[in-house]
Symmetry: C2
Subunit: 392 residues, 2 copies
């Protein structure tokens, strides 16, 4: 039988996309755990640990985690089907592709959705949000994409929550943090957030397949006081809340089979994030350092970032316009030749004009691996080579 | 780096529950595949293979597979949100716990649900179904739980489909096959089924976390002709159909991040089911042989099966009442002492009166391992020991 110490994954060759990110050997090994019944005494405390440590990553004492088999998208369905009732108002702060999708999800379940849409490369201005909140329309929820993976724009979740709390205290603040948990600062309790939803495959360093959501007591009360039943079956908190409470208390319960292996994997990653030598604070700082290094190098090469303001640029990824006169076909193959696989554009209006480099998790945190320098060097060489090829 | 040949899982100690079942080394190793972007050229054909081989397991040429991150339960949401519109009639053939849940799911999305409920241990009689179908009420779908894991009752999906097709040709036949795909016969095309929905962690021998569904052309036409949009976002075929078509055609597409590692694992298992030395036909036969052996041994010990008729007993699991005078606490610990972990009761009305033994996949098929004999011996010893303890 293979032991944890013996297990080593093949060298990765795609460690620079903004998710799924590279996963540590111990996490992959846990994902290869022998089958285990979801109600077995071995598995129950593992699920319980994941619930408890999810709270620690988000710095909350009383938030209620939901860990459900599914992709990050399922978090939107959870919000739409459990918190908003048909005809109620939702306000989406849109800083890219994922705002449009969240809006569509909310509408599917009957919400009446308004959007504040930032220009490409910007977050929604707080003053616009304040104006809308003061317009007299009562919003059940305000949603913000913390880091929109399509643009790399970072929104100020803290200031947004504080403004909503001041101007419209009953409105729930929903943060889509798929591309920000464990790579950007999030203080669930201190910032007084209501929902943080995310997925396993980005900053949390686990393979994809787990929808992770934390709800505040305020949100849970709104849920409990709904007039109509939740409008989804699979995403219904009425079904999942007793399951989460049971596993946390140390007993199994059944609604739908949890992704047992992935829960083992998630715990392995949480162990290193929450209990490892590196504090969460230091982990986030290292993401900042890595980000700064990539962004500075890009600037020196004359590459313009999508985010127009430094304070609105994510720390876990970098979105860059191709240099003048060069396109995807000039840059991406030259990066790939150097073992750097990045992601193309995603925002529909400018899809072919930019690319995205991920630097979350291991890549940013394990400095001794030198991944960031490898990325920077490859980027420099690729751009220089492409320019030289054009000028001949 | 660890190679496939080197990787060996720890010896399993829970190989007798009716799912999650034991997973082969090569499948677990694939689940520990290094991270890969869901749009990478390495991953795209793997997803495509899974779509194609899912068709082969179900013996269909034209069925449309949907492979979505989630548990088997998500298949119900797919049916309810894509095929039935608000106020339309659905008929649930109930042979246990999972019929009640499917009914609740359909109602969540607005269906008007009637049930034909078999007595515990029986499948719904075809004559009752015929009477209901001839009553004049028009049903959009009829659902049947092929094997209800709570009772081990096997319903005759072939005869049900044939009857529906004769009496109410436009009604869609939906088979919940979570506990039957790759352990019971299913001829999607020949039986003229409309939906088969299942999950990865039972007969398909893969860790849990993948909802697998196949829809007939008739079902896809019903979907395409809906008047209202699908009533779920995450489970919407409007979103997923283009993704499935793209991956099958060899291009990536994005709606929500697929569970990349699990797709590698699913392909590894499909490779052995579809392309392995053992034909699918022979695989099913071996499930029958294993089942016969367990059921005969139980009968000899004086243990009564839940299914009252031999023709209505599943081949992938065996549900047994505890012998007279004995309870869970007399039998289960004595099985566990012998490394046999079985599942307790699940059907709410008789939860404490019976237990369930799983014998799907490796356990049934790899005869040289002798798992079935180990189970039988442990059962014999446990029952004898328990009886002896009571009589002293």
């Amino acid at each position: 039988m293979t032991t944890r110490d013996e297990f080593k994954q093949a060298p990765p060759f795609a460690f620079s996309v903004p998710g799924p990110i590279e996963v540590a050997d111990e996490v992959l090994f846990a994902n290869a755990h022998p089958s285990m019944s979801h109600v077995s005494p071995d598995f129950v405390p593992v699920f319980g640990d994941c619930i408890r440590m999810t709270r620690e990553v988000l710095l909350t004492k009383s938030g209620q985690p939901f860990l459900i088999s599914g992709s990050g998208t399922l978090g939107w369905d959870q919000v739409a089907a459990n918190l908003v009732e048909s005809g109620e108002n939702a306000l989406v702060l849109n800083s890219g592709y994922f705002g449009d999708s969240f809006k569509e999800c909310l509408e599917t379940y009957g919400a009446n959705v308004a959007q504040l849409k930032a220009p490409i490369g910007r977050a929604v201005a707080l003053s616009d949000l304040e104006k809308e909140l003061r317009s007299g329309k009562k919003y059940k929820i305000v949603t913000v994409t913390h880091v929109d993976t399509s643009t790399g724009v970072l929104s100020n979740a803290k200031e947004i929550a504080s403004l909503v709390r001041k101007v419209s205290p009953e409105t729930l603040v929903v943060v889509d943090a798929v591309c920000s948990v464990a790579s950007e600062e999030i203080h669930f309790d201190n910032w007084d957030l209501d929902i943080v939803l995310t997925a396993s495959q980005k900053g949390l360093g686990t393979p994809p397949g787990l929808s992770i959501l934390v709800a505040s007591e305020r949100a849970m009360n709104v849920f409990k006081n709904r007039k109509s039943p939740p409008s989804s079956y699979y995403a219904s908190w009425k079904k999942w809340l007793p399951i989460m409470k049971a596993y946390e208390a140390g007993s199994p319960a059944y609604f739908a089979t949890p992704p047992v292996n992935l829960i083992y994997a998630y715990r392995a990653s949480l162990n290193s994030i929450v209990l490892g030598d590196l504090s969460l604070e230091k982990r986030l700082k290292l993401h900042g350092v890595a980000s700064r290094r990539v962004k500075d190098a890009a600037k020196k090469l004359g590459l313009r970032q999508l985010p127009e303001s430094e304070g609105e640029a994510a720390n876990g990824m970098t979105a860059l316009y191709y240099p003048e006169g060069l396109a995807a076909s000039d840059i991406l193959p030259r990066l790939a030749k150097r073992n750097i696989v990045v992601a193309g554009g995603l925002h529909t209006e400018i899809k072919d004009k930019y690319f995205r480099i991920g630097h979350m998790g291991i890549t940013a945190v394990n400095e001794e691996r030198g991944d960031i320098e490898t990325i920077v060097r490859a980027l420099e060489e690729a751009v220089k080579e492409a320019r030289a090829a054009k000028s001949t």
